[in-house]
Amino acid sequence: MTGPLNDTGQAREQASSSGNGAGPLELMDGSRIGVVGGGPAGSFFSFFLLRMAESIGLDVALDVYEPRFFNHRGPAGCNHCGGIISESLVQMLATEGINLPSTVVQQGIDSYMLHTDQGDVSIQAPRDEKRIAAVYRGNGPRESEPTRIAGFDRHLLDLTKTSGGNVVRNMAREITWHGGRPRITSTDGSSQDYDLLVMAAGVNSRALDLFSDASPQFKPPKIQRTFICEFRLGPDTVREWFGTSMHVFLLDIPRLVFAAIIPKGDFVTLCLLGDDLDQELVESFLDSPDVKRCFPGSVVPPLACHCFPHINVEAAVRPYGDRIVWIGDGGVARLYKDGIGSAYRTAKAAAKAAVFHGISTDDFRKHFWPACRSLDIDNSIAKVVFAVTHLIQRSRFLRRGVVRMTAREQQRKGSSNRMSGVLWDTFTGSAPYRDILLRTMNPSFPLTLAWNVIAGNMPFGNARQKGEPSNGG
């Protein structure tokens, strides 16, 4: 997004004049809604708002400002994301009537392969089916073949169009307030006034900075740098070496928080999360023998495409006001996981508030903010979960116990899957972090783990776990 910064005076004008002379703070027949950003948050919001409005016979018009078509390969059509649709989100979307066709799903994932220096262990999906979707947000990485790839964001934006939304193929250049209503000016110079402005631009969009003073009390979220890259291996190699598993790494590398390799057709995507993530951390990770042995000949291939996108690690302050609301990772997102799931939740909560309650600060505080606060509270618990994960990463002694306990659970199908379930939900982002933490507090969990830590560190039990393949194939 390009253009001049918004005038804070205009924001103040908006704050003081909301509802005064601008009509009632609710959607009515003929109301107009402007959505800035056509990524998952903007598309989910549009889809749900239009569906809910139709259900109560409310006739509204909705414009989504999104200049990208999401059909270019490489950075131009990409939304800089690992592209994982969590198990719970896949199910919720299917229940909502949003199915993900096989042209969008680059790889259905049915298992996780946990790699540690103490061995590898495979954790299978609960129902022996592919329950997690690996997708491209755009139209595939640089160098990819354009055939058969349909981006996830494009799929959702098409859904918005079929639901009756209008996609404006222009960038929003400026947001101003006139008579208490927001006005969006596009890069082509045209301006439109709206009854409700929805900010669905993500943390990697300049729009979040440009328009952060559109509401006086809004403060953008805190962000952290991540690393995402693609390796081109060809479909046969990907199938043989990575199978239908997502590969996650619990390695004792300083500053590394989480690492995963996701198979996607011709490519595999590497996602790295870390403190002060830089090239040095990326190289340390790729130099690790436990990473190298995932690739044919233990050689990490050259990067086909890479970026250092940001993620939301601390919620925005007051992501709502009269006639304005921030959704997606520009507002609140789950820590480290399920960013698209967060977009779905916040977008739907905002749509419900707008259609069934109103578009005032108070309406969003009562009916939108609780969904965000729930994510925010869960993120506080997530910090505890990741602190424990960090401890396991640092301690070889503990890693042996975790790998042993998980491997034994997976060997004994039908028995309790305490550690497998905890790891599955932590890696997939399928369950709230609160649920994960509560499960580890069941007395049997620490007792079983303690036994496995002791047994795993006995002289006869501390060898690298055998019988587990080093790849998912």
Partner: protein
Amino acid sequence: MEGSGLGKVYGDGEVIVQQGEIGDCMFTVQEGQLEVVATHDGRGEVRIGTMETGAIFGEMAIFEKEVRSATVRALGSARVLTIDKKTFLRRVQEDPSLAFNLVRMMSHRIRMLTEQVGERRVGGERRTSEDRPHTDRRAGG
């Protein structure tokens, strides 16, 4: 059928849901076609209908503690995704509108069934009224 897609691929005739079984999940058709069949009082199998991509089925097991009311099997190759009862019900508590699409679909099914029952009744009455003259003719003959 694409092997990369979500859910599980069922071959032609493979059973996804068996009538009489206890269920703890519902399903959505991701790709392909399914047929719904049922038997009553040990008599032969009756085809109740077919389902296409996007259909949701098995939802009665989510809301009632009853056995599956019909058998569902693949017509050709089909890909089906499971929706867990626990996941669904937990999320419905947080967001009741999640059930909206399901309620709409069940409402549509009730409407279809009502129409079918109506057609059968009308058909039955027509047959009865057509039978009467026949009986009458026999009586008079």
